[in-house]
């Protein structure tokens, strides 16, 4: 194709240098435009600070009120001891920490495999099918699901028949974790570039091999981020556990019995008229925040490390 140089017809020498005015490039601070821009910038800055205030004040409060017991000399008793009764002094939150970990573990064991399998269907196999768009929509609705309803649901399905148990608590938490895992894993898998999948098919991979050897490993950081966030969210839930796991003053000995959890312990102890219990409620709050924070930080670290 022949092309012509479009600029060749413009004669740049036609205008003499003198009649072009020297442009003023100085900063005009008091111009209305600049003032408005400065004002709005300040406003966003203020909003950002205000948004962080509640978080920092909560953490400050927890450190002041709960830090003395958690980082004090009787830390071993606090972390392993049984909750005190009435006017009893000392005691700890051991059963609640273990109970929370066990129930989050059960919830993870249910929701992670199920969620990842579902997200393979949604993100890789049939992303445009009607089943996929329906279940994607429902998963999004479920992320905004009031958590107490998950408790009521499991109460109706399991607790009425089998009684309060760690198992029922784990199932209720799994219901809440599932949509987070599904949506995060689906997003991560959908972002694996098509050309990487093409390369795998071009090497003679079956669809299963493409998913196992290319899609899942490539999407792994994103999937783990979603999983960690779901775990962090579940660890802090209290409402669903009220209807399912109830509470216990002793260490869990089997999955079919009522089980302690940090969030319910906080709820129970904070309303008591005893100094010691109230202090332990603060301590349990701090421990819970630290556990959740740990999972969040873990999620960040895992999510960042890309091969």
């Amino acid at each position: 194709m022949r092309t012509m140089n479009p600029t060749s017809t413009i004669d740049l020498t036609a205008r003499p240098e003198e009649i072009r005015p020297r442009p003023n490039l100085d900063r005009q601070t008091l111009e209305p435009r600049a003032l408005k821009s400065g004002f709005l910038t300040g406003l966003t800055w203020l909003a950002a600070v205000l948004a962080a205030v509640p978080l920092f004040s909560v953490i400050y409060m927890l450190l002041i009120q709960g830090g003395s017991r958690l980082f004090g000399s009787d830390v071993v008793e606090v972390l392993t001891g049984l909750p005190p009764a009435g006017f009893e002094m000392g005691g700890g939150i051991g059963p609640a920490i273990l109970g929370t970990l066990v129930m989050v573990g059960i919830a993870s064991a249910i929701s992670i495999p199920l969620g990842i399998l579902a997200s393979i269907y949604l993100g890789v196999l049939e992303p445009k099918s009607r089943l996929a768009s329906t279940s994607r929509f429902l998963a999004k609705v479920l992320t905004g699901f009031p958590s107490i309803l998950a408790g009521v649901f499991v109460y109706a399905v399991l607790v009425i028949r089998f009684g309060y148990s760690a198992m029922a608590g784990g199932v209720a938490l799994a219901v809440l974790m599932l949509p987070t895992v599904v949506l995060a894993a689906e997003e991560a898998m959908a972002q694996v570039p098509q050309r990487m999948k093409d390369a795998a098919y071009g090497m003679g991979c079956t669809q299963t091999q493409v998913i196992l050897k290319v899609v899942l490993p490539t999407a792994l950081p994103g999937i783990l981020t979603g999983v960690m966030l779901a775990i962090a969210g579940a660890a802090g839930e209290s409402a669903p556990l009220l209807f399912t796991a109830l509470f216990s003053n002793y260490y869990i000995s089997e999955l079919a019995e009522p089980t302690a959890s940090l969030s319910i312990l906080i709820y129970n102890f904070s309303g008591m008229p005893f100094e010691n219990q109230i202090e332990l409620a603060w301590t349990a709050s701090l421990a819970l925040v630290l556990i959740v924070l740990m999972f969040n930080i873990l999620a960040r670290i895992v999510g960042r490390s890309k091969v």
Binding site: R195, Y201, G204, Q209, V307
Partner: protein
């Protein structure tokens, strides 16, 4: 070709001088209702480089990707015709497309290394085929043949994605040849590369010709003259309402570029349209 011609133009069959590894006869290729390519016979000769040239939308990539059933991944794709490879039609019902792709490898337009180490990228196909021998030795040989060994031998554990575009493409070629496929299909392998990387890949192709059969789509006619032994020129027919590609002429590269039989070929290679 004349738009008012009653019968559709069909290219004169090309009589290959040497052994033919893949004998491709396209009657019709559809994407859904859309007729993408019609009536093209493209024999791929053993240990030669066959170049596919032609304007955009002429179906050259579609034909190339039909040779190892890559197009099967597109659900609306339909192939009418046959592709005879070692006496078997790869479009026969009993043939598993996954197995076909292990013998007929592919290098793509965009470099597409996996998000894993350089070593694992090259070893991918070997592990896939449960290769029992010395994987390290095969990986080194593949990287050497792909003219990449010297640049990466000290950083085999680094991610394949950390390499430059040209290196990534040579890594993809190394990955494709590590399993020693019979035929290597290349879909515009240099279009995402700068001139220096392009030259390296072209030299690599000329070396690979000693052991492999290559078929390459290129948008660059100079590239075809530099590397292809045989050239197939496709064009697109918009006079019939659709945009259907077809083979116009196929022959030794020298003849196609110096003494084409068809007027359309002459116009295309002289740059009158693209």
């Amino acid at each position: 070709m004349n738009a008012t011609a009653e019968a559709l133009f069909v290219a004169e069959p090309f009589q290959a001088a040497g052994d033919v590894v893949i004998d491709c006869t396209v009657n019709k290729i559809f994407y859904g209702d859309f007729l993408a390519v019609r009536d093209s016979v493209v024999p791929i000769e053993k240990k030669k480089i066959t170049g596919f040239i032609g304007p955009s939308g002429c179906g050259k990539s579609t034909v190339l990707r039909s040779l190892n059933r890559m197009n099967d991944l597109i659900s609306v794709f339909r192939f009418e015709g046959n592709v005879i490879y070692h006496g078997q039609d790869i479009y026969a019902k009993k043939v598993d497309p996954v197995v076909v792709r292990r013998y007929i490898g592919m290098v793509f337009q965009q470099p597409n290394p996996f998000s894993m180490s350089i070593f694992d990228n090259v070893a991918f196909g070997l592990r896939l085929n449960r290769f029992k021998g010395d994987i390290e030795e095969r990986v080194e040989r593949a990287l050497q043949r792909a003219a990449l060994w010297k640049e990466v031998k000290d950083k085999l554990k680094n991610s394949g994605l950390s390499l430059s575009g040209g290196q990534q493409q040579r890594l993809c070629i190394a990955r494709a040849i590590a399993t020693e496929p019979d035929v290597l299909l290349m879909d515009e392998p240099c279009s995402a590369l700068d001139p220096i990387a392009t030259r390296q890949v072209e030299e690599l192709m000329l070396e690979l010709k000693e052991n492999y059969t290559l078929a390459m789509v290129t948008h660059n006619m100079q590239q075809a003259t530099r590397v292809a032994d045989t050239t197939a020129f496709f064009s697109v027919d918009i006079s019939q309402g659709g945009r259907t590609g077809y083979l116009v002429e196929m022959g030794p590269t020298r003849q196609i570029f110096e003494d084409p039989r068809e007027q359309l070929t002459k116009e295309y290679i002289s740059g009158e349209f693209s």
